[in-house]
């Protein structure tokens, strides 16, 4: 595991959390876009 | 192209500015007097302030006693407790400054008739006089009961005066905000805490200086600065809070 065990895992968990948050924000924004399009 | 003669300024031109100021002061004074008259009739705020202050004082005194705090800790602990008592009493007694107006519907008349900044000034001075009167009663009692030695009484007076004034001004503005919202009793302390924290810390520090015999100049200056800032902010924000 890169980074030598423990600290590498922490980094990967961070990346996963961040990516998850990011994808959620993308979906949220597209949902808002749809709502904006309605009359 | 002769130079024009300098025309004497008519006396009337100078008058409006000072008469406007006088009218403003008169208005503020009228609000102040009206609030005191109402207060003396019901004595509600006075009773609340006194009740909370005395209850807290008794609790502190009973719990700690004159010997309860080691003399080495006195400087650190006792000034803070004094201000806790003042704050508690103020939070109980001051927020209703505008609620009374809203409830009895005199607020409408006041909005129509008065200049907002003058109203704010009158109300703030009223709250300040209430609080300072309370402090005048509380502080000697506290000092006596807790056996608190005061090395520099002037600093104590400054702390009580500036601290009380700042507390009153901030409370008046916050009370105006809270009067237009629901859940007023609980709302006031929530809104007040972050705003009053610098004031309280400075006042406690200055009081500590009074007990210990000296404090940095910055503390007194900053406390005065806070009061000034609060006064300006209040005069500017109150009209916006008061009128839609």
């Amino acid at each position: 595991m890169i980074g030598g065990g423990g600290i590498g895992m922490v980094m990967i968990v961070n990346l996963v959390i961040w990516t998850g948050l990011f994808l959620y924000l993308l979906r949220l924004e597209s949902h808002v876009r749809d709502l904006e399009k309605e009359p | 192209m002769t130079a024009p003669l300098v025309r004497p300024v008519p006396v009337q031109a100078a008058a409006p500015a000072s008469s406007a100021a006088r009218a403003w002061l008169a208005e503020a004074g009228a609000v102040f007097v009206k609030d005191w008259r109402t207060e003396l009739r019901t004595r509600h705020a006075l009773h609340t302030l006194l009740l909370f202050a005395v209850t807290t004082l008794v609790t502190v005194s009973l719990a700690l006693g004159p010997m309860g705090v080691a003399s080495s800790e006195r400087v650190a602990v006792l000034p803070a407790l004094l201000w806790v008592i003042v704050l508690f009493a103020a939070a109980a007694g001051l927020p209703r400054g505008f609620v009374h107006e809203e409830e009895t519907h005199t607020a409408i008349a006041l909005r129509l008739a008065g200049t907002p900044s003058a109203i704010f000034c009158g109300k703030a001075l009223y709250s300040a006089s209430l609080l300072l009167a309370l402090e005048a009663l509380l502080a000697p009692l506290y000092v006596a009961v807790m056996q608190l030695p005061i090395a520099q009484p002037a600093l104590l007076l400054a702390a009580l005066g500036l601290g009380g004034l700042g507390l009153a001004i901030a409370s008046t503005l916050l009370a105006a905000i809270v009067a237009q919202a629901q859940g007023r009793a609980a709302l006031f302390p929530i809104l007040a805490f972050p705003v009053l924290l610098p004031l309280l810390l400075l006042a406690v520090e200055l009081t500590r200086g009074a007990v210990a015999g000296g404090v940095g100049d910055a503390v007194l200056t900053n406390l005065a600065l806070y009061d000034a800032t609060m006064a300006v902010a209040g005069l500017m924000l109150f009209p916006l809070v008061w009128n839609p």
């Binding site: 961070n14 808002v32 | 629901q182 972050p194 924000l237």
Partner: protein, 233 residues
């Protein structure tokens, strides 16, 4: 910002990449700070940017509030409220990470040193603003009163950021934060990651803020009399 163009989409993915690089950099590229226990200094790369962002949010809310009181444009009120809401999230995370770090460094979660006090006061301000917002029914009054409170907060803020640090005497504990922070910043690699991370978090804040404001606008359109803060189902 409601564009679906490639360029429009791209900056979001660029943000993703930027923050991902910062995360990797925080753990693999930046050196450990001296005087810090184990790997704990790595938390700084997230804690500090989030704290800065919450201060930015605080000021932004204040500025928008001033604009609202001047112009009475409901959109500015929405912008201020959104700044407070999202600022609260960042502030809470900053406070929590700060406390975790304090625990590791000095054994105590909380010791009221000036920085901890400042961040916690901002946190309480945010919470109080939102409580006020929930306590006023009339829309116009809500916007006006909240704006006034936000401006009051802005006015009081300098006392926390400039006056408090000079009053360290009131804490019984020595304040190690300021001293160690000053030494930490010297390492260039650490500084790089710190600045990069700060930029990333600020952009993230404004993105989230933008989405939130748009949501508030849509909700207002749907139910203008009530102006819910949520879109009705």
């Amino acid at each position: 910002m409601s564009t679906l163009s490639v360029a429009g989409r791209a900056w979001r993915w660029a943000l993703w990449a930027w923050i991902s690089i910062c995360i990797v950099g925080a753990f693999l590229y930046a050196p450990l700070a001296a005087k810090f226990i184990g790997q704990s200094s790595r938390i700084l790369f997230f804690h500090v940017p989030m704290a800065w962002t919450s201060f930015v949010a605080f000021i932004a809310a204040g500025v928008w509030s001033i604009l609202y009181l001047w112009r009475r444009d409901p959109d500015q009120d929405r912008a201020a409220a959104a700044a407070v809401e999202i600022g609260l999230v960042f502030c809470f995370l900053a406070t929590a990470t700060g406390a975790m770090w304090a625990r590791v460094m000095w054994g105590a979660w909380w010791n009221w040193d000036p920085r901890q006090t400042s961040i916690s006061v901002v946190l309480v301000f945010y919470a109080a603003y939102l409580v006020l917002r929930g306590a006023v029914e009339d829309l116009e009054a809500r916007a006006r009163l909240c704006a006034a409170y936000a401006v009051l907060g802005l006015v009081v803020a300098p006392f926390f950021f400039f006056v408090l640090p000079r009053m360290v005497s009131f804490t019984l504990h020595p304040d190690a934060v300021i001293n160690t922070r000053a030494k930490v910043e010297v390492e260039s690699r650490m500084l790089q990651v710190l600045l990069a991370s700060s930029l990333g978090f600020n952009v993230l804040f404004f993105w989230m803020h933008g989405v939130r404001v748009r949501l508030l606008r849509v909700a207002a359109r749907r139910a203008p009399q009530v102006e819910l803060e949520e879109v009705p189902a």
